[in-house]
Symmetry: C2
Subunit: 452 residues, 2 copies
């Protein structure tokens, strides 16, 4: 059964640490997966963390570090000298994890660690990987892979795999290359196990496997692996030479992070924070959007102020200010989120912007008619001002149309400009639609009261 971190377990662990009871700690830690140990680390103080970490063997201490959250990892690495990081940690990591870890450190510390590494080839791999943008295939890939020549037979291939396998922790495909290192396809381990030993690799290789270039964005990498159900994806350079591979677990993280980022933007949070972060971080992540919201509110107050005369005579106009504002906001968020999800899934590329907006307009029209009719009925029954009844319904209808089209348009335009369309969701759309909605409402109100 999977491990579950309970409060009782944690208290016991902290007790053992306080008593420096190494035997009990070793016994517990040896039965737990690195990912679980990383989770325990989250809950410990700096001192407890360092003590526990030093009790781990080399292999496991590297695994645990690879599993830790970035901020936790920094907390630990700050307490360790560069040569220890090199020999105990980096040396036991896959190149992609090692590059990620070094990427988080200062340039001086990076240099210190890289120069302390005994394996120069490994240091070279890491230096290579550090040159890639972390949001591209190059930034995701690892250098460790098993490659065989297409001209070999199965027997030679298996011999070669045995040799190469020592370096590589886990692998699911063997990549097939030609004499120039150009990627030709892949052979699954299953195929190697079930084929005759004199079969040529060429004849059992799958040549349809997709590949990506080092500069392919990680979001596209994730979409490709998801679409084709791949557990491993080869990365090639400009002329098609195999330079690395990306495994599904790294891409699962990308998918999670993308989803979380979009979720944070729509909920008005500007940084990647979690509930367990410090109060300062949580506040900092929330303030920027709130300040924008506040500015929007101030602008709204100015707009309303322009109609102070009307409000004095017809104070009931004020009753529906929040309704109009909120509906504009809600409709805008709905529209923008549908577009943002469509862009992320790559499903809305085939039509032009005008056609999309026209479709959105039709949906808004249906929603608008229905909701305006509802509020019209309500006001006919409740309000004794027909001018107000007409104003609220007409304004609600216009606001729904406007907010819907605007909510769709902004993310599409941002996407065209290569800006993350998710920026247009949440408080941004809400605030703008709030203000414009109120202007429409008050403008229609002035008109109506002029007529009636």
């Amino acid at each position: 059964m999977p491990f579950e971190l309970t409060r009782i377990f944690l208290e016991k662990m902290q007790e053992f640490i306080a008593q420096k009871d190494e035997t009990s700690i070793h016994k517990i830690l040896s039965g737990i997966h690195a990912a679980d140990i990383a989770q325990i680390f989250r809950e410990l103080s700096d001192k407890e963390l360092l003590y526990l970490y030093n009790l781990l063997d080399e292999e496991k201490s590297a695994d645990v570090l690879a599993e830790m959250e970035e901020d936790e990892r920094e907390r630990l690495l700050e307490q360790l000298p560069g040569d220890v990081i090199a020999s105990r940690i980096i040396d036991n990591m896959d190149s992609d994890d090692a590059a990620d870890l070094l990427g988080e450190l200062s340039e001086e510390k990076q240099e210190e660690i890289l120069l302390s590494l005994e394996d120069v080839e490994q240091a070279g791999d890491i230096v290579d990987l550090l040159t890639y943008d972390e949001d591209t295939a190059g930034g995701l890939m690892a250098k460790e892979l098993i490659a065989v020549n297409e001209e070999w037979d199965v027997e030679l291939c298996v011999r070669e795999i045995r040799k190469q396998a020592e370096e590589v922790d886990e692998f699911y495909y063997v990549w097939v290359i030609d004499d120039d290192g150009i990627l030709k396809g892949t052979v699954s381990l299953k195929e190697l196990l079930i084929s005759r030993s004199n079969t040529k690799i060429k004849n059992i290789a799958d040549t349809e496997m997709p590949s990506v270039k080092t500069d392919t964005p990680s979001e596209e990498v994730a979409n490709i692996m998801k679409k084709y159900d791949l557990v491993s994806l080869p990365v090639v350079d400009t002329i098609g030479r195999l330079v690395g591979r990306i495994t599904i677990d790294d891409v699962v993280d990308v998918i999670k992070e993308e989803a979380e980022k979009d979720y944070q933007l729509i909920s008005g949070i500007t940084e990647d924070v979690e509930y367990t972060d410090s109060i300062f971080l949580l506040t900092r992540a929330r303030l920027p959007w709130l300040v924008i919201g506040l500015t929007g509110g101030i602008l709204a107050s100015i707009v309303i102020g322009l109609y102070e005369g009307e409000l004095k005579i017809f104070p009931e106009m004020a009753f529906f200010l929040p309704l109009i504002g909120a509906m504009g906001g809600n409709v805008g968020v709905q529209s923008s989120s549908i577009i943002v999800q469509g862009i992320a899934a790559g499903t809305i590329e085939l039509q032009g912007i005008t056609r999309k907006l026209f479709k959105d307009l039709k949906v808004a029209f249906l929603n608008g008619i229905f909701l305006s009719a509802l509020i019209f009925l309500y006001n006919i029954l409740i309000s004794d001002s027909f001018a107000l009844t007409l104003t609220v319904s007409a304004a609600l209808f216009s606001v729904i149309l406007f907010a819907s089209v605007f909510g769709s348009l902004v993310p599409m335009v941002l996407h065209r400009l290569n800006v993350d369309p998710a920026l247009a969701t949440g408080p941004f759309i809400t605030t703008i639609n709030d203000i414009i909605g109120l202007s429409i409402y008050l403008g229609i109100g002035r008109l109506m009261y002029g007529i009636f």
Copy 2:
């Protein structure tokens, strides 16, 4: 390079279909992955779809069907007779995909297809799988797997794998069981390739691999596979017998769907819709939350109506109604989304509700002080009513505190009650906070104007 569906490609394809140019179509389709063909299908009419589908060979037609979206698949299956579905499609599918597909059909159609299947063992597997809830490990797993006895040696094991491998498309682990079928561990294909042929499986098996029970919820399955970076996870019954396995590609879909569901809820959309869906579906998915928002707006108008007297005398009170409402909404959404994400990631379980709320209160306090100070400064400069200045600042501060705690509390309570906490995000929180925020503001206003 991965395939990209362009408008030009699509038009050419439709031309070939219209001309019934089978040679050209075969040439195109043979070079494209099943997932890409499924994507092409989305853009075709019923007639084009059926024509194209019938040109695929059996193996590929099953693969394509497994890749299609649920609604598209239904559109196609409606046009095919039961025995064709059985022999051409189900027969070529893994049991999990087959069960998913059958689960979408009516009971009569299910029975018709199951009885037409020639392979009774396969039919039995599917019937077994259909009994599990689709949101559990049982609903995700496939029955096809390679299992070997822990007492065997590598050579016997490889021989057995060759035999079993015909049935199983792709596999990355071989599961190790004892004589009673109890799961004992796993052997990676890599290990089998590099071990000596007389090594006992027992000695190279990894016994630390986690497993799940058939009734483990899919969200937990996804968290486990993500946490331990697994590509395949064994499923056992109550007494520990191996009954199936879940692969990472199915879990990637679960992760995506979970994230999309939360995203939809926070953006006020009640159904799993996509941009490409019909106008009717899109409208239906958006209306419910809008009606709730409208009701909230009406309630707000009633609350404001209670203060009509004050608004007549001090119409400038109305200027800040949208600001207070919007800020309450924004803060509430921020708080609830942080809690919802924490619950989904399983990171906030260790503390009690009171401690969590207290932390949230501290964050809200900092945000509140800062924002109230800002609006206080603004109003001191702009407004000539000190009562209004005080009212807006005091109300904003109270609303931020209240909305924050309320936004955190509701998802936590829902979670305790085993209701999806994400229901508490988006328009729900916004609407309630809107109304309560306005009441606080107007109440404080009445008090202030009484004093000054």
